[in-house]
Symmetry: C2
Subunit: 221 residues, 2 copies
């Protein structure tokens, strides 16, 4: 078992699974959550609750640049989450989001002499976000290692998993109950809207795994 | 002459030189300045004045994450600018600063279909900041190109120049008069403190080039 890691933790399904995965591989875990002006603010409450329940120290880092940049449906309340943006990318694409998240998480880790980072990005069902792909992560690993003169490793336990396999991994690492409090919906509502691309992708995974989503079970309770 | 570029513009000596360099190579220039909680706030006023005088559209992007991270003398008012921080790095090292600046500048450029970025980083007199080096910039160029699925080029006209050569380049591209309004001092004062590492490095360059620093001429006027 390795010493310490920093998990980029949004409070969503994937990063919740990663938080539990990390607990199996590292003695000490620090969670970093970004308050980047996401319109689904409920995600921040979910993240705080999951960390508190799991006894993981959590740091919420503010990041006001993406709201200032605007132009995407995730941080711009005047833009609907549905269509396509530039090129073939979804309108919810925030250019540079994962790059900046991981770079700041690396800075946070660097200050604590930690060299392992964990993120829930996944290229299998990557929703059209190019910064979720393995080649981006490998390149970024080099960039932050060079830029901070310190060797970093970015762990991506979900990279090659389908949404079905992610659900199975959540069961395997004991994250399943916590998923009842994870947040996914881009429209930021509970019960989830069920219609945005994030809700649809989540539902697909649980359907394929043949198990009920604990979040939906809680929503119906 | 190329079409458009985004210059990461701090209002300092190096980025002012780059702004004028860019004007010689690109038809249209957009300047992006980061308000990242730098204690030398005067830099922001200098940046605005230089852009206004040169008729360059400037966007100031807020970035509150580094202040929240703390632990460096550039954004932490309780830490003096003088000694060494972790390892052999100066205490003014903000881990990830240039990586995040360029990634956000790339996001800004991406939104405008611009693929050329210009930054004043320099590895010759790099002040011990690893994120000013060519290998970091080349790697970052790949990371942002992959992460935004769009080919970027990071131009670094000062990369291999000594501070003396930077002064000569400023003369060559017509930036010399503007340097009277550029800001360098890490202690954020005018006239410059003359004692911080940034002031010392600037003075060295002008001394070696054998010309008076227009900023110092203005300070004495």
């Amino acid at each position: 078992m390795q010493e310490s890691c920093v998990v980029v933790f949004s409070g969503g399904q994937d990063s919740t699974t990663c938080l539990y995965w990390a607990k199996r591989h590292f003695k000490k875990i620090l969670a970093v959550t970004f308050d980047y002006g996401q319109r689904h603010r409920i995600e921040l409450d979910c993240a705080a609750k999951i960390c508190a329940d799991f006894d993981i120290p959590q740091t919420v880092l503010p990041l006001n640049s993406f709201t200032a940049l605007g132009g995407n449906s995730l941080t711009d309340p005047n833009q609907a989450v549905e269509g396509l943006g530039r090129g073939h990318l979804p309108d919810s694409f925030v250019p540079g989001r994962n790059l900046v998240f991981l770079t700041l998480a690396a800075a946070f880790a660097w200050q604590r002499n930690i060299s392992d980072l964990v993120t829930g990005v996944c290229q299998t069902d990557y929703s059209g976000y190019p910064d979720c792909r393995l080649n981006t992560m490998r390149s970024l690993e080099s960039s932050i290692s060079l830029g901070m003169d310190s060797l970093f490793h970015i762990h991506t336990p979900l990279m090659h998993l389908s949404k079905k396999q992610s659900v199975e991994l959540a069961q395997e690492v004991g994250a399943f109950d916590a998923l009842a409090f994870s947040h996914t919906c881009y429209n930021g509502v509970f019960p989830p809207c069920g219609k945005c691309p994030a809700c649809e992708l989540r539902a697909k995974g649980f359907a394929e795994a043949g198990v009920a989503d604990p979040l939906m079970t809680r929503a119906k309770a």
